[in-house]
Amino acid sequence: MIELNDYLILSGLLFTIGLVGVLRRKNLLMLFFATEVMLNAANIAFAATSHYYNDLSGQMFAFFIIAVAASEVAVGLGLLIVLYKRHGTLDLDNLASMKG
């Protein structure tokens, strides 16, 4: 039987993977992917706890997140394309124009 804890551990693992991706990857596109992973980790936790408590608001929230993530990707990818056209690269080390 799969318990709530198992779901939460999976969620935690996915979140960690996403976080490491955000911290370590240099390509902006990869950063996006990592963010998606983190968001979906949260979704798993929401859905699992919602089921556990027999309360639908958690699953509702998961749907919200999916919607937000989709629109974020739509806008984000558009920006990435513009960025790529302008600089010819998506490597963060080469995009450091805001140096203080």
Binding site: V22, L23, D93, M98
Partner: protein, 635 residues
């Protein structure tokens, strides 16, 4: 009648504001004229109020607005016109009006003419607030206002250079102004303590409430309040040991000296004691009152002795004020409050006249003040001679002039109270007063014309100025005749206890009067014998120890300079170099440096690389989570 109260009070204020509008512009004569007219209005209103109080015997009490209300503390902005305050108002506004008109002539060539009138009227307004207030808080506001205005006016010629103390003992107007201000602040601290003590124990600052509650207070409270209030009065009225500022204040323009000495400043201390007479009449504070009388007598003698040898025209008059203030305190301390107030009024008239006369002389002599360089001025300045002669006769206490009646009454009081020592000192002082005032008059106006060798061409003051001075001269002559009427008037209300001589003194009044008169006439004759024919300097006498002691003002200023000012300056320097620079400054600078350097260091974080930012962000997030976890564990 209420509107007269407001007119009397606010006309000087309007005058001050009006003159201030032209403060920065060049001399405009109409500013002086309008200021004088407004002051005259104030005087008229005061005189009408005096008539009203005299005829009906009633007092007028107005509350303009609630001023401070916090918890139990409620201080209305209220004014009271009773026998005491109406006397003061009339005297103050009369003298001030004359001084204003006089200033139009005296400050003729001064480029800050308009500014001068603004200050002068503000001075009068402060004094009016002081005397008319119906509570200690209002009195204190006026008290401080008078202090500020005196600072502004004594230092009016602040641009004058400092000179060496040999040439001019008070160095410069700005120095003198600061001295006056600081000495008064010291005394004001004590006065505030007195006011707090009264408030703490009676729960009010209104005169009537405070005085009604006095019998329920214990001796310690009463004594503390009496002493503290008197220290305040000592500062303002320049009693020993806080007297040095008064003679140094002669650095201000002469009309200011007249105002300070006759109407608006030094009388405030005497007024305070008179106003608080229910407190000082309490049997519990008998020792304080006796101390006031003794100190007053001492100052009367002390100041008169310094005036004997001084060469500075204005300083001699300043010492005589000090001496006469001593007389007033002597009377007040012995319980004869109405006599103190009577002497205050009479003194105001002839002292203002003396100062304005001295101003005429200065004006004629190109600001020369050394009476050894004058002499024979009666030819060119006949009217000034008459005025100053009359004023000096009044000061010396020669009948039938005002000073005779008022001073004689004080000396009689001292006899009546059985304080023979005080009586004897006051009698001797009366003789000294006559001597120094006529020494000054004769050296200035009689004898050989010593000013010629300095190339000075004296000339009489403007006509209108001389005319403006005439009311003072008239009052200096006749004020004494109103003694009986004044006594009935002032003691008719319940604000002032009566004081009458005992039967025994009454029998001796002729003998006592003749003794005083003999001393006074003797003083005048001695001055005439020594100085009327010209200045003969006796170097042996001048080099004697006593002469030098008096000339150096008993070395009190030197003492203050050596034992107070210099150590204070030394301590200040030490504190500046150690505490201020090494502790406070370093702490403050350290904080600033830390913030600077931390900013500099953390700036390196801002690489422009999103990846780094994200790293820092998650680091911060983790740090916050850890803090939250720890704090939740600790609880």
């Amino acid at each position: 009648m209420e509107k007269f109260v407001y007119i009397a009070l606010f006309a000087p204020f309007v005058s001050s504001i009006f003159a201030a509008l032209f403060g920065m512009s060049p001399k405009k004569t109409f500013v002086g004229v309008i200021a004088s007219l407004l002051l005259a209005t104030s005087f008229l209103a005061s005189a009408l109020l005096a008539m009203f109080v005299y005829q009906t015997g009633g007092t007028i009490h107005v509350t303009m607005m609630d001023w401070i209300g916090a918890g139990d503390l409620s201080i209305p902005f209220g004014f009271v016109v009773d026998q005491i305050s109406v006397t003061m108002m009339t005297v103050v506004t009369l003298v001030s009006t004359v001084v204003h008109i006089y200033s139009i002539g005296y400050m003729d060539h001064d480029k800050s003419f308009n500014r001068f009138f603004s200050y002068l009227s503000a001075f009068v307004f402060s004094m009016m607030v002081l005397v008319m207030s119906d509570n200690f808080a209002g009195l204190f506001i006026g008290w401080e206002g008078v202090g500020v205005c005196s600072w502004l006016l004594i230092g009016f010629w602040y641009h004058k250079e400092d000179v060496s103390p040999e040439e001019n003992p008070s160095i410069s107007p700005s120095w003198a102004a600061n001295e006056a201000f600081i000495v008064n602040r010291i005394a004001d601290l004590a006065m505030l303590v007195g006011i707090f003590v009264l408030y703490w124990n009676t729960g009010s600052l209104q005169y009537d409430v405070v005085f009604a509650n006095l019998p329920y207070l214990n001796q310690t409270v009463l004594t503390t309040a009496a002493i503290a209030l008197f220290i305040g009065a000592m500062g303002k009225s320049a009693q020993f040991p806080l007297h040095t500022w008064l003679t140094d204040a002669m650095e201000g323009p002469t009309p200011v000296s007249a105002l300070i000495h006759a109407a608006t400043m030094v009388t405030a201390g005497v007024f305070l004691v008179i106003r608080a007479n229910p407190l000082y009449s309490m049997p519990e504070v008998g020792e304080v009152s006796y101390f006031i009388a003794a100190l007053g007598t001492f100052v009367a003698f002390f100041a008169a002795s310094m005036a004997l040898v001084n060469r500075d025209l204005k300083r001699i008059i300043a010492y005589s004020t000090l001496s006469q203030l001593g007389y007033m305190f002597a009377a007040a301390g012995l319980g004869a409050y109405w006599i103190a107030l009577f002497h205050l009024a009479a003194h105001a008239f002839f002292k203002a006249l003396l100062f304005l006369g001295a101003g005429n002389v200065m004006h004629a002599m190109d600001d020369e003040l050394d009476i050894f360089k004058m002499g024979g001025l009666k030819k060119s300045m006949r009217w000034t001679y008459i005025y100053m002669g009359v004023a000096s006769l009044a000061l010396a206490g020669i009948p039938p002039l005002a000073g005779f009646f008022s001073k004689d009454a004080i000396i009689e009081t001292a006899f009546n109270e059985g304080t023979i020592v005080l009586w004897a000192i006051l009698v001797v002082t009366a003789g000294m007063t006559a001597f120094y005032s006529f020494r000054q008059v004769f050296l200035t106006f009689e004898g050989d014309e010593r000013y010629k060798e300095f190339g000075i061409h004296p000339h009489e003051m403007y006509k209108y100025v001389l005319v403006a001075m005439s009311p003072l001269a008239l009052l200096a002559v006749i004020a004494g005749f109103f003694q009986g009427g004044f006594q009935t008037f002032i003691t008719s209300g319940d604000v002032m206890p009566n004081y009458a001589m005992s039967e025994h003194t009454h029998h001796l009044v002729w003998i006592l009067g003749s003794i005083v008169l003999a001393f006074a006439v003797g003083g005048v004759l001695l001055a005439r014998y020594k100085y009327a024919s010209g200045l003969k300097r006796e170097m042996k006498c001048e080099n004697s120890f006593i002469y030098q002691l008096l000339k150096n003002q008993y070395y009190v200023p030197q003492f203050y300079a050596e034992f107070i000012s210099k150590p204070y300056a030394m301590i200040s320097e030490k504190m500046w170099k150690t505490v201020d620079m090494k502790i406070i400054d370093i702490t403050v600078d350290g904080i600033a440096k830390f913030i600077y350097s931390s900013g500099d260091d953390t700036r390196k974080m801002q690489t422009g690389n999103l990846s780094n930012y994200l790293n820092w962000m998650s680091f911060g997030l983790v740090a916050l989570l850890i803090v939250a976890a720890i704090s939740s564990v600790i609880g």
